[in-house]
């Protein structure tokens, strides 16, 4: 084919431009470390990356939610451990107080201890975590339990409600993390107050039934603790699943989005050589002219 002078230079220029462009592409890939920089680099890959990133973000949020739920449940659990301790002591005292050999003065002594136990249980019922009263249902901003008469209450009033506090632990899956205080504490307070009044009035017949009343409360607390425990196990399982998901999603995003570094660097080398060759060819071809040989 005939070669024209401007045709030769434009072809050489095109060759340089093409080599340069191919070099630029792989340089971008190496410097950004990414295979997909814009949707047109891989449209379906982009879509999968976007889905995976959203799921990854959500999974991160759910893991934070689970941590918070764990703290909620752990605080609830430890409060119930304390309530249980109180109830165990109450059973001991009620068995002791029911002993017919005990006199009224001794029973009165026990009554003072029960008053302190009522105070202690009130404090447990008013447990707060991160500024939130956890046994108040939705009324988390105020202590839910208050004795009607300080030091010698006839009743401990509950000002909370039965509202459920929920955490989203995976997409669309919610878990109740609170136990409204009246479900557990009201019975405990009633049993304690009845026992104290029986002690003060030296009501021996009444005192005979008190251990049974406390045992009923112990069973109830155990039952609620079991519920809390099973929720905590569910959180552990969900968290493990989310962590697995995390790993898989990150791997998937990496495979789709990240450049294969070894391959990219090898390509960079190859294309750099091609570019140099194109430059060398231009240097040689453009310098050839008949003018160099004519006198």
């Amino acid at each position: 084919m005939r070669v024209s002078t401007p045709g030769l230079s434009s072809r050489l220029l095109n060759q340089i431009a093409t080599s340069q462009q191919r070099l630029q592409e792989v340089q971008d890939r190496v410097s950004t470390g990414r295979r997909i920089n814009r949707p047109s680099d891989d449209p379906y890959g982009t879509s999968r990356v976007m889905i995976a990133k959203t799921r990854l973000d959500a999974a991160g949020q759910f893991q934070r939610n689970i941590q918070i739920a764990n703290i909620d449940l752990a605080t609830t659990e430890s409060a119930f451990v304390s309530v249980n301790t109180v109830l165990q002591r109450a059973v001991e005292l009620s068995v002791q107080a029911g002993n017919s050999s005990l006199d009224a003065a001794s029973r009165n002594q026990i009554a003072f201890e029960i008053d302190r136990m009522i105070e202690e249980t009130t404090a447990i019922g008013n447990t707060s975590q991160a500024g939130r009263y956890i046994f108040a249902g939705h009324q988390t901003t105020a202590p839910p339990f208050a004795p009607d008469v300080a030091g010698n209450p006839t009743v401990v009033n509950y000002s909370g409600d039965s509202g459920a506090i929920q955490r989203e632990i995976s997409a669309g899956e919610r878990l109740d993390v609170n136990v409204p205080g009246d479900q557990v504490f009201t019975g405990v307070f009633d049993a304690l107050i009845t026992f104290r009044d029986n002690l003060r009035s030296n009501n021996v017949a009444g005192l005979q039934t008190d251990p049974q009343a406390f045992n009923t409360q112990i069973d109830l607390v155990l039952q609620v603790r079991g519920d809390v425990g099973s929720k905590m196990r569910r959180l552990d399982l969900t968290e493990a699943r989310l962590q697995d998901d995390d790993l898989q999603l990150q791997t998937m995003i990496g495979e789709l989005e990240d450049a294969d570094f070894v391959d990219s660097v090898a390509q960079l080398q190859i294309r750099d050589s091609a570019f140099q060759a194109a430059l060398a060819a231009v240097g040689k071809s453009l310098n050839m002219s008949l003018l160099d040989f004519l006198r």
Binding site: M1, R2, S4, T5, I51, R64, N65, R167, L294
Partner: protein
């Protein structure tokens, strides 16, 4: 042969070689002129003056004319490819800008903003008693609004840019038409006196090349040498007359410009070329992408507002507050009442329930709700399909633009190898013509010697 006749023939040879040298130097001078086709002097021998007398030599050389060396068929093919190249180049540029605006699959686009927004609601649900998370959700909503408004604004301004380029393209088409018409006039008069007008034809071809990249043109050359150029069957240039284009503001189309024939206001139809590409971007492609983008934003805004209005503020009493204000992506913003008083964030579903975050959880659940595409897609899914189809379209446009550019380039090179000047070749020609000139001059001095012998030495 009479010596005087010999002198005459030699003089023609001198002139012919000189003219050939002129043509070669013209070629050398225009080696880098875009669109220039090399020229050749056509020479022919002059037969003997008296054919009845056998054995006489001819009367030397004569110049028949200059010829322009160019393959018209390649031009024709190239212009066809240029139209598509122009169309897809415009489309590629435009879609790449849309991709840049959306910023996917990165962390600065709508996907991330929506994600952050819904996660912020989950944080509110975790801690509805505190201000920190309410403040965070207002921030996330604000940044979602900014992101939507930025992208919407960029897509709109791309439409405006396309419109400005339509106006500029029409101006360029009219300018090229004027050039072609005026060259037509000159060519007709030059051809009339036998000049092939090679250089003017090159310039006209160059103008037609450019014109065919801009718009869907047809052209035919008439016997007189003028070129008739038409668009969609209507003539733009005929001889030295131009029937140009104009633009008119269309109130029904965003006050964008319609392209019309200046003479009667009839609409111009051009589906290809840069003009076709620009109009398609401005009136079809970008509006569709804008509409899809806005569909996500407006649906999200409406759903969030409906859900938020059922919630109760931190005071446990105030309800019915809209979270967002605005009509679409162009003006979406967090309700100024809420930004002014973050306690208005409606985290609770129930009145007077400070610890209730269930409305915030309900708002977060909207992230998975299938409220788009006829209740089959979530916001994310709808937006993903929007981004995917953008990616597919941009990739296709790029592939086609590259392919068209490559075939234009190849046809260019083919034409260059036919019509382009080769300096080495011209140098050889120059040497050749120079030698011929020297030889002819030598013949004169030989004839001169002969005449000298005849006149001065014969006594």
């Amino acid at each position: 042969m009479a010596l005087s006749v010999g002198l005459n023939s030699v003089m023609r040879a001198l002139l012919a070689q000189q003219q050939a040298l002129d043509v070669a130097s013209h070629n050398v001078a225009n080696v880098n002129t875009p669109g220039y086709s090399r020229q050749r002097l056509r020479l022919a021998s002059v037969p003997a003056s008296n054919p009845s007398q056998p054995g006489l030599p001819g009367n030397g050389v004569q110049v028949i004319g200059t010829e322009r060396i160019r393959n018209i068929f390649i031009d024709f093919q190239r212009r066809g490819q240029e139209q598509a190249a122009g169309y897809y180049a415009v489309k590629t540029d435009s879609l790449k800008l849309v991709e840049t605006s959306l910023g996917e699959p990165g962390e600065s686009g709508l996907r991330q903003a929506m994600n952050d927004f819904f996660n912020a609601w989950r944080d509110v649900a975790n801690d509805p008693e505190q201000s920190a998370m309410r403040s965070a959700v207002v921030q996330a909503g604000t940044s979602l609004g900014f992101t939507a408004t930025r992208i919407d604004g960029q897509l709109r301004s791309m439409r405006d840019d396309a419109n400005r380029r339509v106006a500029a393209t029409v101006t360029e088409i009219n300018g090229l038409a004027d050039q072609i018409a005026s060259i037509n006039g000159q060519i007709i008069s030059l051809r009339g006196i036998g000049d092939p007008a090679g250089d003017l034809t090159d310039r006209r071809d160059h103008s037609i090349d450019r014109l065919s990249r801009l718009v869907d043109v047809q052209y035919t050359e008439t016997a007189s040498g003028s070129m008739t150029v038409s668009i969609g069957g209507r003539s733009l240039v005929s001889g030295s007359n131009v029937r140009g284009l104009t633009t008119a503001t269309n109130a029904a189309n965003n006050n964008y410009l319609d392209v019309q024939w200046a003479s009667d206001g009839a609409a111009l139809s051009s589906a290809t070329g840069e003009l076709g590409g620009l109009i398609n971007q401005r009136d079809v492609d970008l509006p569709q992408r804008l509409a899809d983008f806005n569909a996500v934003v407006t649906q999200l805004m409406a759903d969030v507002n409906t859900a938020h209005a059922t919630g109760f503020a931190r005071d446990g009493v105030t309800t019915g507050t809209a979270f967002f204000t605005g009509s679409d992506a162009s003006d979406i913003a967090v309700n100024a009442a809420v930004t002014g008083n973050i306690d208005l964030v409606g985290a609770a579903s129930l009145a007077g329930a400070a610890g209730d975050g269930s409305n915030a959880l309900g708002l977060a659940d909207l992230q998975w709700a299938k409220t788009m595409g006829g209740a089959t897609q979530s916001y994310d899914e709808f937006y993903n399909s929007l981004v995917t189809s953008l990616g597919v379209d941009a990739k296709n446009a790029q592939t086609l633009a590259d392919a068209q550019a490559l075939s234009v380039q190849q046809l260019d090179q083919l034409q260059q190898s036919e019509a382009g000047v080769n300096l080495d070749e011209e140098m050889v020609n120059i040497v050749q013509f120079q030698r011929a000139y020297q030889a002819a001059a030598r013949v004169i001095s030989v004839i001169d010697d002969m005449l000298d012998t005849l006149i001065n030495r014969t006594i």
